[in-house]
């Protein structure tokens, strides 16, 4: 179902008309999205403004020049650190001056390293930096704040200060959402500074078009070999995607394959035809199984071991809805939803771990949902299964970190799919518009978030639930 308002908004003429008529209608901005697989120099020719004297200078120096960015900063320490690398890549670091805040040149990203803020008064830096520069942010631009999780603070004042970043980021996201720009917060645990690259590459690129107003924690818990290719990052990796015949699962299988992975596409035997079609197109392997079958785990583990010697990345995407208010819900509707959406994930993952099919430094990514966070009328079963996934994710992450296996969940908001196209118009419109970006997401947005979690370089991200919701108001 096309989003009429979004389509109209792509026409400058209509935008002008709406503005001049003074209609109280926010026209959503079409979001820029990547045209192909990830590239090393994703910031080629783009300008970023950076501030803050924190612990992330070295990480930013590692990333920005190599990614192709021209960096502007008023912070002398950052200029020195980034400058020491920039020359090698033929990139420039320029001093950020008062004139830049007046300039009409648009910048791609504003990055603030807020890890050194220790007292509420220090928060003034948020005000000055973003106050001066937020107007320079380009359409589809990026704001990233880097902070510390408040539970790692060493003083009460620091904890309070760090906590403040969250509300600030979420609010700023709403203010810039109208121009298709996003704002996110990265909470970096002490010792995990050099692990932020994958996170920054995701949040600063158009791969995260529909991710905004989100905090994401980076830890040093899972082991990491620090040798990350950023082009074809999944070469030599074997991936299992459940529910791969269509929708988000299909988009994910395609995305992972485009990043170099061999994808084993799993779906129900009834969907053999579309499944085989997808698998053939991406050079993967089709595998039919009913995930709620108690034998499925063993069957899948055996197949993966037989065909590929194991699996590196597991994407639990298969899911169903059996919506009814609880009083009217049938027993089977409850059971199917819990079995497929939650019990199967648990069972298959445990089997893959027990049989040794899931290899070291593996990745487990499961689909949760905004409904699992916020609840939804008529979805007691679905929401229970999806918040169950969050419990599963947080617990398992602790169990597997020693083996370098990360476990994460993605919680999509309103995504334009067959399922949401069938939703009544008024509810659909509410789902789209009641968000910072004022529109629905695409299956590829979810696929890109999953792909980000699956990268070797995402070793710092585990036990996390990432919302891909366009900054939806519900459950925020």
């Amino acid at each position: 179902m096309t989003d009429l308002l979004l389509e109209l908004g792509k026409r400058p003429f209509v935008r002008k008309l709406v503005a001049s008529a003074g209609l109280p209608m926010p026209m959503p901005e079409a979001l820029p999205r990547p045209k192909g697989p990830s590239v090393e120099r994703f910031l080629e020719g783009k300008t970023v403004r950076v501030a803050g004297e924190g612990a992330l200078g070295a990480a930013l120096a590692n990333l920005l020049p190599r990614a192709g960015a021209t960096t502007l900063t008023a912070t002398a320490a950052l200029a020195a650190t980034i400058g020491s690398k920039a020359e090698a890549y033929g990139r420039v670091v320029r001093p950020l001056t008062a004139a830049d805040s007046e300039s009409t040149d648009k910048v791609h990203a504003l990055i603030l390293d807020a890890t050194a803020l220790a007292r509420p008064a220090d928060l003034r830096l948020l005000y000055t930096f973003f106050h001066d520069h937020v107007r320079s942010l380009a359409r589809g631009g990026r704001v990233v704040l880097l902070g510390r999780p408040s539970d790692t603070a060493t003083t009460l004042a620091q904890a309070a200060t760090e906590g403040a970043l969250d509300g600030f980021t979420r609010s700023l996201a709403k203010e810039i959402g109208g121009k298709g720009a996003t704002a996110n917060l990265v909470l970096v645990e002490p010792g995990a500074e050099m692990r932020v690259e994958a996170v920054l590459r995701f949040l600063l690129s158009s791969a995260s078009a529909f991710v905004t107003a989100q905090p994401l924690r980076v830890s040093a818990e899972a082991s990491w070999d620090n040798r990350d290719p950023w082009e074809k990052p999944l070469a030599q990796k074997v991936v299992l995607v459940t529910g791969a015949a269509r929708g988000i699962g299909e988009a994910t299988a395609r995305m992972l394959a485009s990043e170099g992975a061999h994808v084993v596409c799993l779906d129900r035997p009834e969907d053999d035809e579309p499944l085989s079609h997808v698998a053939r197109e991406i050079g993967g392997t089709p595998l039919t199984a009913d995930v709620s079958d108690p034998e499925a785990g063993v069957q899948i583990a055996l197949e993966l071991k037989r065909l590929h010697g194991g699996v590196d990345i597991v994407v639990h995407n298969a899911g169903v809805t059996r919506d009814r208010t609880l009083a009217r819900m049938q027993e089977s509707g409850w059971d199917q939803t819990i079995n497929i959406n939650l019990a199967a994930i648990l069972h298959i993952t445990e089997t893959l771990l027990q049989t040794g099919a899931l290899r070291d430094n593996g990745r487990v990514v499961s689909l949760s949902s905004i409904a699992g966070i916020a609840g939804n009328m008529g979805q007691t079963n679905y929401a229970a299964s999806k918040s169950g996934v969050i419990g599963f994710t947080r617990y398992l992450a602790k169990q597997t970190k020693a083996r370098g296996i990360t476990v994460n969940a993605i919680a999509p908001g309103f995504i334009e799919t067959r399922m949401t196209a069938a939703v009544p118009m008024m509810i659909r419109e509410a789902g789209r518009r009641l968000s910072a970006l004022g529109q629905g997401g695409l299956p590829e947005d979810v696929a890109r978030a999953i792909t980000f979690m699956a990268l070797p370089g995402s070793a710092g991200v585990t036990g996390q639930v990432l919302r891909v919701c366009g900054g939806a108001l519900i459950g925020a």
Partner: protein, 433 residues
């Protein structure tokens, strides 16, 4: 190394020669790349008085290849009337093609595949084929190649070629196939990214012209250039070098690739026609035939970088590798000859050679390759002044450097060449005593 081959065979350069280099569509326009090659090789054989029967083969570099006779190397053999047993083949590695031919010859001789080889390259931009879009070929070729065509077939084919704008021949451009970027645009971006000023570029261009002009005036190139007969008369000297240029004149030129840019016709190498060749032998053979070896190619390196990034930065990576392979450092090198595609490119490469950050990040080394002493660099000018017939440049540089080592008793020369496709090349020449 092949069996029954004595170890430690060394390939040596015994002489080199080139045609005058002329601006495209001027004096040498009537000669295609094969004719230019014939002129250079023919002149070299006369100069060295090399017995024709001793020649094993020709390895020839070419960039703009004639579509119907791509193997220029063999065509030169045939046109020169050399013995039919002299084999010939053609190599292409963009602007590093000439150097490629020479290092291939060194490899073949040192491996024992040959004793005497001619290596070099030529290009005639004046005779670059104008390509018709594939649509034309696919429409017309079946008629031309496939037996009898009726009037209806012909009319049908013509109808398919409409609209005319789709089938007009395309203007040839020195553009990257993958990025579509014209090379000057790449140079312009490199100037910006590495903060190379217009003044510095013009300065380098001026020095190139002044040094080349001095070399010509002093007769330094006389032994390296053969006169060439053309239907319109004899061409006997380079015609691109401007002895009378000045910083003021260069500063007046307008940037070509961007209004606010720095790359001008004055600080870029021009489209050029020309050819250059050397003769390489096993040292044993050279001495047996009574030739005095000038120099040997101690080492070389070819590298690739992403053409969408800094197209012409390759030599900054190839140079340290070649130096390593020769067991030398930049401090040991007496002469540096760097192909001047654009002043911006030479200066970018030199800057990166001197950059500690580049060494750490891009080469995985603690120490920068080093700063190049301007007095050792391109002492007789370079491609900006002399001209750059793509595949001829390698043999031009090798000839001048080999002669210089032999003449002056200096020990070693370092060569650097950038090339389309993001390629970089470097080689180390050492004098043979």
């Amino acid at each position: 190394m092949a069996k029954n081959t004595p170890k430690n065979r060394r390939a040596v350069i015994v002489g080199g020669l080139r045609t005058p280099f002329a601006k495209a569509f001027t004096e040498l326009m009537e000669l295609d790349t094969i004719a230019l090659g014939v002129a250079a090789v023919g002149g070299l054989l006369r100069k060295l008085d090399l017995p024709r029967t001793e020649i094993d083969g020709i390895i020839w570099g070419g960039v703009v290849l004639p579509p119907l006779s791509v193997n220029i190397g063999r065509e030169i053999v045939l046109d020169l009337g050399l013995p039919a047993s002299v084999e010939g083949h053609t190599v292409t590695r963009a602007c590093a093609s000439g150097l490629q031919a020479i290092t291939d010859a060194a490899s073949a001789i040192e491996r024992g595949d040959a004793d005497v080889l001619i290596a070099g390259g030529s290009d005639s931009t004046s005779n670059a084929p104008i390509a018709f879009p594939n649509k034309v070929t696919r429409t017309l070729a079946p008629l031309a190649l496939g037996g009898k065509a009726t009037a209806a077939d012909i009319l049908g084919a013509l109808a398919q070629l409409m609209p005319l704008s789709e089938v007009l021949p395309r203007q040839p451009r020195v553009a990257e196939r993958t990025t579509g970027e014209v090379m000057g645009e790449s140079a312009e971006r490199m100037a910006q990214r590495n903060e190379i000023s217009r003044e510095a570029q013009d300065q380098l261009a001026l020095r190139s012209h002044q040094r080349a002009a001095r070399a010509i005036a002093s007769g330094r190139f006389d032994d390296e250039i053969t006169k060439v007969e053309t239907p319109k008369g004899l061409v006997h000297s380079d015609s691109l070098v401007r002895a009378d240029t000045s910083a003021e004149k260069l500063a007046k030129l307008r940037p070509v690739f961007s209004k606010t840019g720095t790359v001008t016709a004055g600080n870029s190498s021009p489209l050029t026609d020309g050819a250059a060749a050397i003769v390489m032998m096993s040292e044993e053979k050279a001495r047996a035939l009574g030739y005095e070896p000038l120099a040997t190619v101690s080492s070389w390196s070819y590298v690739g970088v992403d053409p969408a990034d800094q197209l012409l930065i390759g030599p900054a990576i190839a140079v340290p590798k070649a130096l390593d392979r020769a067991g030398l450092t930049l401090q040991d090198i007496d002469l540096v000859d760097m192909h001047e595609a654009f002043a911006a490119q030479v200066l970018s490469v030199l800057k990166m050679m001197g950059s500690q950050a580049f060494a750490r990040e891009r080469l995985g080394r603690d120490q920068a390759t080093g700063e190049v002493d301007p007095d050792k660099l391109n002492i007789y000018g370079g491609s900006i002044a002399i001209g750059h017939p793509f595949a001829a440049t390698g043999a031009r540089m090798v000839t001048t450097m080999a002669n210089e080592l032999h003449r002056t008793g200096k020990r070693s020369a370092l060569l650097g060449i950038c090339a389309a496709g993001g390629l970089g090349a470097a080689a180390v020449l050492e004098r043979v005593d």
